[in-house]
Symmetry: C2
Subunit: 186 residues, 2 copies
DNA sequence: GTCTATAGGTGGATAGAC
DNA sequence: GTCTATCCACCTATAGAC
């Protein structure tokens, strides 16, 4: 049984990932959950509070997902595949990454949010670089640049690919992108 | 001497590329140009009209840029470098691609705009695939997948890389990304 | 083509009862 | 913790003078 606060976050996240954070209102959330706007304000006094908690939760969830992959999936290639799957799942729901969405409005964000956003991308890149580094050490992966640089390309392509695939409705294009990204590391 | 209409488009584009389309108003444009809101409405009755013309102009400009590159720059590698430079210039102004920004709000866009957005990404991918195809034919470039697939990875990485670099303020990361993208094709 | 003035609506936010 | 009621600022948009 989810708390109202969690349900609000779920609703807001779904709206943000498909429309953008500035394209929905408290009224949309209230309607979806069949509660009143004032109740939403009780849990999140300002919309900035909501946005902040949304990104915090998103970061934590992603970190947890990465930890799960690391502990339950063997092999660098398969770990990267599992990571990619997180993005495929998002695309299936006609959504993009919450952080990717917020990044497109970065010029309008207060400092603490842009810092949190920065941290998200660093967390992702660091984890990917670690996995790639291990894979190169044991001979499973093969690439020429630094792991950090490869991780940056990998994440960038996933973020951009998700954005484009979602805008064009081209799921097969995203499928090919996933294949290419892995092929380049083997 | 630019017309008022062009100045409005310029102002709106700059605002959209740094803040997002839903994070600025006619009042912002009017203030920047020192005119009244009603004058903006004279040229663009609704904000949707503004958004539509903005994307149309952006597409045309990009097509013109690509044509210029094709006619004035010799060699596939150098043509791709020139293309990449378009994105570097955007990053220098702390902006992202207008289409990338709009793509993050695609769930809130009317059909005609999402179709135009789709067309933009197709135009970019097609041009890149053509350049890559030529480069492969004459031995200048070397890659294993299809040109279309490589073009998709290339564009995705640039779009995502721009988004991330702009959000993190990491210009050097974007520089390395550019190098990696080209290295993968040689 | 640009202005003043204003309508009409929505969005974020608060007060206070229950 | 949720509700009703309401405020106020801002936003899109229009009417009509110049």
């Amino acid at each position: 049984m989810s708390s109202t606060k969690d349900l609000i976050l779920d609703s807001a996240q779904a709206l943000a990932q498909s429309r953008g954070f500035n394209a929905f209102s408290y009224a949309d959330i209230a309607e979806e959950l069949d509660i009143r706007k004032a109740s939403v304000h009780y849990h999140f006094p300002s919309k900035l509070d909501l946005e902040t908690e949304l990104l915090d939760r998103y970061r934590k969830n992603f970190i947890a997902e990465m930890a799960t992959i690391e502990s339950s999936t063997k092999g660098s290639t398969r770990q990267l595949q599992s990571y990619i799957q997180l993005y495929s799942n998002t695309l299936k729901c006609n959504k993009i990454c919450l952080a990717g969405m917020m990044a497109s409005d970065v010029g309008a964000l207060p400092d603490h949010l842009s810092h949190s956003l920065s941290a998200f991308f660093k967390e992702q890149t660091d984890w990917l670089a670690k996995v790639m580094s291990v894979g190169k050490s044991n001979g499973e992966l093969n690439f020429t640049g630094s792991a950090k640089s490869e991780a940056n390309v990998f994440l960038s392509a996933l973020q951009g690919g998700l954005l484009i695939a979602n805008a064009t409705g081209d799921e097969t294009g995203f499928k090919r992108l996933k294949t290419s990204l892995l092929a380049q590391l083997i």
